[in-house]
Amino acid sequence: MKFNTYEFMVAYRFLVNGRSQTALIILGIAVGVAVQVFLISLMDGLQRNLIQRTIGSSPHITIAPPLSSPQPLGIGGDAIDDYPKPLKTEESEILSWQRYGDYLDGIKEITVAAPMVNGNCYIEKGRSSFPVIVKGITLPEADVIYKFKKNIINGDLRSGGNNVLIGVASSEKSGLQVGDTFYLRNQKGTGDYFFIQGIFDLGSSAANNMVVMSLDRARTFLDITGISAIEIQVHDVFAADGLAKELRGSFSQVKVESWQERNKELLSGLRAQDTSSFMIQFFVLLSITLGIASVLAIIAIQKSRQLGILKAMGTNDKSAARIFIIQGFSMGFAGALVGILLGLGMTELFMFGTKSSGGPTYELKITLTNILLPAVLAAASASVAALVPARRAAGLNPMEVIRNG
């Protein structure tokens, strides 16, 4: 399509001449775009927040032995100590975990791969006992996943030997505080005294019911030769699923599970949200398109005299049509620009409002895509809307104007 400069000039003059009409339609587009920018940012922020809450302080991918189901309680005790211990196999523990670790360290997408052991134990206090999960970790790696350092609310991180960290939930249940020493009993009935170095709050009740110690101490305490699992954090949380599939191909003897597989319900909820926000966007766009189409149709009728004159003087049909396409696109473009500013303003205002009212603060995610997508769509739909009057302009016979004065 070859544009002639006078088409731009005529389009521009038509728009400037119908100032209030033009302003109204630009405002209409702007409001539509603003709502979309805001809505998308809100939804996006909400989803990221939700995902962050769900998986932020938990591994994205877990590699566990195939029989990693919790072992039944109460089979311990002295009675069976006389029997030969069942042979440890890769079925219930990962024995050759160093090998896995080396392999995983070579994968770029992985931020950290942390070995971990865990088991069910009891805090004994006087006559009562409180079930907890004992977790053995290597600190620098596990801290990337669980962010103990950030979430310690009392005491500090120095674990090692019999120094442990306990979750805020187990602390509250048992009344234990930083500096206390307590007796921890494992499933076999044996136990030891541990010293509370710090208390953490990871935000979820399961995580807050943990007693965390060093990997090696936990292995001896829980009598585990290998490890219970390797926990992996990746750069792009949404790539976890794919990576898990890859790992499954490489490691046939272990169970590889991504966070997506563990949180199917959350994901389907998010997907439903996506669908509904898509619907809203679609209808906002539709109403923008219809609005522009109707205003441009009116302009085309108002300007049919001018169009007739232009056509008498040699404007061809395509050129007449282009004058309206240009008008539609210009209004769409201007509306999109104003809409982006409005939308960003609304987003900022929302964040300011929730922050100052002390409500749940989470970052609305303003990304280039979130801004550009609705803007480009609005400009495009404005151009499409202009096709209606453009067709009219193309079909206008100059004689209709000349003959009727």
């Binding site: 002639n4 400069t5 006078y6 005529v10 003059r13 008498a312 040699g314 049909d317 000349i402």
Partner: protein, 254 residues
């Protein structure tokens, strides 16, 4: 002198169900360098004939030949660019674009055909404005101009592309007689200066009397055809005196 326009058996009808024929087998050739006036009572078909000559309307049958080229075969868009290059339009109403200044209006036909006007073309527009006495009004919008000034702008606009034919449909029909005289004089002068051809529909006997050739259309047919060359101006004027019905009443449309 060559024929600039040749009409060959032109018929024109309107309507699909009720067909009304307005022009019947018009054969006509117009020589180059002449001022031709079409006269006739309202509804005679003279404006339709002019619109066909101006390539604004296609005949139902027959051929229009311009400068030896048969125009009948051209499609709508080819016709549009042909009009843009070869024909300058002046209508009864000025038909200026209200969104553009006088100078811009004058430049629009150039702009449509060839894009942004270069300095020489703007210079020509300025010259034309000066020539017809509206050099002060270039920056004004049509609604800020008087009727006479508007029509002068329309004249300048019709000339900007140096067309072969100036097509004028009662160009003074909307002006008072004094302004009308001035505008007509200017038009004739500038047409002579530009060596172009003026084809005009008019209801004004005096204007018709000033033409090189007067063709009267009645009921879609050529009724009379007076040529100054052949008959002398006085004889033409006398003949026109007899065609009282043609000039009775105010300017109307046919």
């Amino acid at each position: 002198m060559d024929d600039i326009i040749v009409l060959d058996k032109i018929n024109k009808s309107y309507g699909d169900e009720v067909v009304v024929q307005v022009l019947f087998d018009i054969d006509l050739s117009i020589k180059s360098g002449q001022f031709t006036a079409f006269i006739g009572p309202s509804g005679s078909g003279k404006s339709t004939l002019l619109n066909i000559i101006g390539l604004l309307e296609a005949p139902t049958s027959g051929n229009v030949i311009m400068e030896g080229q048969d125009i009948s075969g051209l499609d709508k868009n080819e016709l549009a660019s042909y009009r843009n290059e070869k024909i300058g339009f002046i209508f009864q109403f000025h038909y200026l674009l209200p969104e553009f200044t006088a100078l811009e209006n004058i430049l629009i036909p150039y702009w449509i055909g060839k894009g942004k006007p270069p300095k020489e073309v703007v210079g020509r527009a300025m010259y034309l404005m000066e020539r017809i006495g509206i050099e002060q009004s270039g920056g004004k919008y049509p609604n800020q101009l008087s009727g006479g000034q508007q029509q002068r702008v329309a004249i300048a606009r019709s000339l900007i592309n140096r067309p072969k034919i100036i097509f004028a449909d009662e160009p003074t029909g909307n002006l008072d007689s004094k302004t009308s005289d001035i505008v007509m004089e200017l038009l004739k002068e500038i047409v002579r200066e530009d060596k172009t051809n003026l084809v005009m529909v008019t209801h004004d006997r005096d204007i018709a009397a000033g033409a090189d050739r007067v063709i009267e259309i009645v009921d879609g047919r050529i009724n009379c055809d007076f040529t100054v060359d052949r008959m002398g101006r006085e004889e033409v004027r006398r003949e026109l005196e007899h065609l009282a019905c043609t000039f009775s009443g105010a300017a109307g449309e046919s």
